[in-house]
């Protein structure tokens, strides 16, 4: 069946080329049927790519080791769920997933907007097709998942770290995010190519951007939880280049989602918004490049591959081409509207944008620095955690504060008296919280104390916004229903506060202890005593599990028995660290126990971390999703208003 997969990918490539070349020609010559035909080529490409994906999935589930990809990433002992996740566990499969998601997004975006903005869609089709051409070409000519061989008896298996339920959802969600950013990019470029810089491209892509942004956000939090429970080092984010690769486009998309409101409400920032869309898309390509090229050392990145130069070339072409397009259309993008006041909601959005982009670019510099230093000086120099932590504090804390300030300021302008009235409660609450925390000893970390105080300020602002809004409108449901984006946004802000509290609590106020223990020996950390009792061994389908039994006590009371250890995987011939976590819900903290080295005699080198508030990070993920869904929920009144608006232009 590999022949069918290969043929289906050839068909996808041909269709993508058709959508690009014929679609571009049709848009230029205003040929309606030809343009529809190019759009249909994207639908057909979705079908043929789905056939290729079905062939690979079937081979993975049948453990057909005549497929090189299947032999490299599965074994007969691999559970079915992980045989499915092996689809995106390797380079070729994940490229196929990129193409599948891209053609699905492209088809849906074209189908939905075809009637409302045919001239815009006509120019967006060749852009979407162009991106599809690149990925289809990679799959056909450079990195095919359908290479065959004489089938070996057993496969190499899947990397043990990837044998985790999170791997069923984390990578696909990241792909939904990365690839989803292609839609706003294509429509933005389509608008520039068509010379139509009105708001239609923003209206057409707002929801797609929100979907991609939500998927990227949830995907990253799932990845952080996976790192926390599976990788076994006690952390959830290591500023790993590949983790950063997902964070950067998310930050750029966050900036876009804020600044796009200024364009909608004031007709301003047209150039800035197009640049943000380009930045977000190029960063999503850069993220894929980092993961696939092997240029960086990361637990996420695949081994050295021939993809690097291709990706780099494509990123350069996309960046140069889109910037040239913006430059060409600058006269159409300029607006006469100016900020009325530096103390206004739109000004706060602008400051928020500058901070988000500054944070994004400093992370980009940190990620690119090792590559640039190797290129310029011939030696790889990396920037470490202190660099990222410094900039997270420098830009992140003001961003947190702005999340509280922004909603309190009126659009257009604000008088000092109104500001004083609006700020008095949240600022008073924040100061009170800060003083209480200082008295409780939270002053041991200044950034931690500042983060807690700012978080109190933002939470107070959000609650007050809901209360004042409900009083003004008369009903909570009406308030949210009439402006889902704003109140969904506030819920997302609340999730960012929870995230900040979780990061500050676990980072600034955490405790660590490390010691080699023999059976019966104990170590103490942050009021807990951990006693190593015994070591056992258990055989599972695809691994042997070594587990230490460790009693966790607080004072004289035994609170839990945890079992950290290691798994030895047969087929993969790899060992994974299996951290044990005891969650103390009353104290709102985790006790993480890692059996770092297990000696043959039974003595174990333990590492224990106590992480206050770390679980707020995962709660933040749920709140984030809830807020995003509120913002995404369709608004029938807005749809009617937009339909009436666009009826005028037709």
């Amino acid at each position: 069946m590999a022949d069918l997969g290969r043929a289906a990918l050839f068909v996808s490539l041909g269709l993508a080329v058709y959508a690009t070349v014929v679609g571009g020609w049709a848009a230029r010559t205003h040929k309606r049927r030809l343009s529809d035909s190019a759009g249909n080529a994207l639908f057909a490409a979705l079908g043929s790519t789905a056939v290729a994906a079905a062939v690979l999935l079937s081979a993975l589930l049948r453990h057909d080791f005549s497929f090189v990809y299947v032999a490299q990433h599965t074994s007969t002992e691999l559970p079915t769920g992980y045989s499915i996740s092996a689809f995106w566990g390797g380079q070729e499969g994940s490229l196929l997933l990129w193409l599948l998601v891209l053609t699905a997004y492209a088809s849906a975006a074209v189908l939905i907007n075809r009637r409302r903005a045919p001239d815009l869609v006509a120019w967006s089709v060749p852009v979407l097709g162009g991106v599809a051409v690149f990925f289809a070409f990679m799959l056909v000519a450079v990195s095919s998942p359908f290479e065959t061989q004489t089938a070996p008896i057993e496969g190499a298996g899947l990397n043990p770290s990837l044998q985790n339920p999170y791997m069923l959802a984390h990578p696909p969600l990241l792909y939904l995010g990365y690839v989803g950013l292609t839609v706003p990019f294509a429509f933005g470029m389509g608008a520039l190519l068509a010379g139509r810089t009105d708001e239609r491209w923003i209206v057409a892509t707002r929801r797609w951007t929100l979907i991609a942004w939500t998927a990227l956000g949830v995907g990253q939090l799932l990845g952080a939880h996976w790192a926390y429970v599976e990788v076994g080092w006690g952390g959830y984010y290591a500023w790993d280049p590949v983790e950063n690769a997902a964070l950067m486009p998310w930050l750029a998309a966050t900036a876009f989602l804020h600044s796009v409101m200024i364009q909608e409400k004031r007709g301003m920032l047209k150039v800035w918004n197009v640049l943000l869309v380009i930045l977000a898309f190029c960063l999503s390509l850069f993220g894929t490049f980092l993961t696939r090229s092997g240029v960086v050392n990361s637990i996420h990145s695949f081994t050295e591959s021939p993809l690097g130069p291709w990706f780099l070339g494509f990123i350069c072409v996309v960046t140069a081409g889109s910037l040239a397009l913006v430059f060409w259309r600058l006269p159409l993008l300029r607006t006469k509207t100016r900020l009325e006041s530096l103390v206004s909601r739109e000004a706060a959005f602008l400051y928020n944008n500058l901070l988000l982009v500054a944070l994004c670019l400093t992370i980009l510099w940190g990620v690119a620095f090792p590559m640039l230093s190797e290129l310029v000086r011939g030696e790889t120099r990396t920037v470490g955690r202190p660099y990222y932590d410094f900039f997270l504090r420098t830009f992140g804390l003001p961003l947190l504060l702005l999340m509280g300030i922004g909603p309190l300021i009126a659009w257009r302008r604000a008088s000092l008296r109104s500001l004083g009235r609006m700020f008095v409660w949240p600022a008073g609450i924040a100061v009170a919280v800060g003083v209480v925390l200082l008295a409780l000893g939270a002053g041991s970390s200044t950034p931690g104390l500042v983060a807690y105080t700012f978080s109190a300020f933002v939470l107070a602002t959000i609650v007050l916004e809901f209360v004042r809004g409900t009083r003004a409108v008369g009903s909570f449901t009406q308030l949210v229903g009439r402006n889902r984006r704003r109140y969904g946004g506030y819920i997302v802000h609340a999730s960012v506060v929870l995230l900040a509290l979780g990061i500050a609590g676990s980072g600034a106020y955490g405790s660590t202890a490390e010691r080699k223990l023999s059976r019966g020996q104990s170590l103490s950390v942050a009021g807990y005593t951990l006693t190593y009792r015994s070591l056992s061994q258990q055989r599972s389908a695809n691994h042997i599990a070594l587990r230490a039994a460790v009693d966790v006590s607080r004072g004289d009371k035994l609170v839990a028995r945890v079992q950290p250890g290691k798994n030895r995987y047969f087929a993969e011939q790899q060992v994974s660290n299996e951290m044990a976590i005891h969650t103390d819900w009353l104290r709102a903290e985790d006790v993480d126990v890692i059996a770092d080295q297990i000696n043959p005699g039974g003595a174990i080198y333990f590492k224990v971390l106590v992480k206050p508030l770390v679980n707020l990070i995962w709660v933040a993920g749920l709140v984030f999703l809830a807020g995003a869904l509120v913002a995404l929920w369709p608004d029938a009144r807005e749809q009617r208003r937009l339909a009436a608006r666009y009826a005028l232009a037709s």
Partner: protein, 97 residues
């Protein structure tokens, strides 16, 4: 191998059919140009966007005033300006249509 090739041919044929649908459905169309908005349509759209922005601004001003974010003086000054903008856009839309 043969089954795979037959299936591949079917995939390719289905793709060609889908791409050709616009030409099969309308072999001799009366109009084969993309519905490009005329200058009057573009102007009407710009005015409609301006009208919607002004109306949305008026709602925001009203809401910000009721929630205490905007002082009475600022509200009176801004609301007048945005009413005039909305009225101008509405007046412009009719002739543009």
């Amino acid at each position: 191998m043969t089954v795979a090739l037959v299936l591949a041919a079917l995939v390719a044929a289905a793709a060609v059919l889908l791409v050709a649908v616009p030409f099969l459905r309308e072999p001799a169309p009366s109009e084969d140009t993309l519905p490009e908005p005329k200058d009057s349509g573009k102007r009407a759209l710009a005015l409609a966007e301006e009208r919607d922005r002004a109306l949305s601004a008026l709602k925001e001003l009203e809401f910000d005033h009721r929630t205490g974010k905007l002082s009475d003086a600022d509200y009176r000054e801004l609301v007048g300006a945005y009413r005039r903008r909305a009225a101008a856009a509405l007046q412009g839309i009719e002739p543009a249509k």
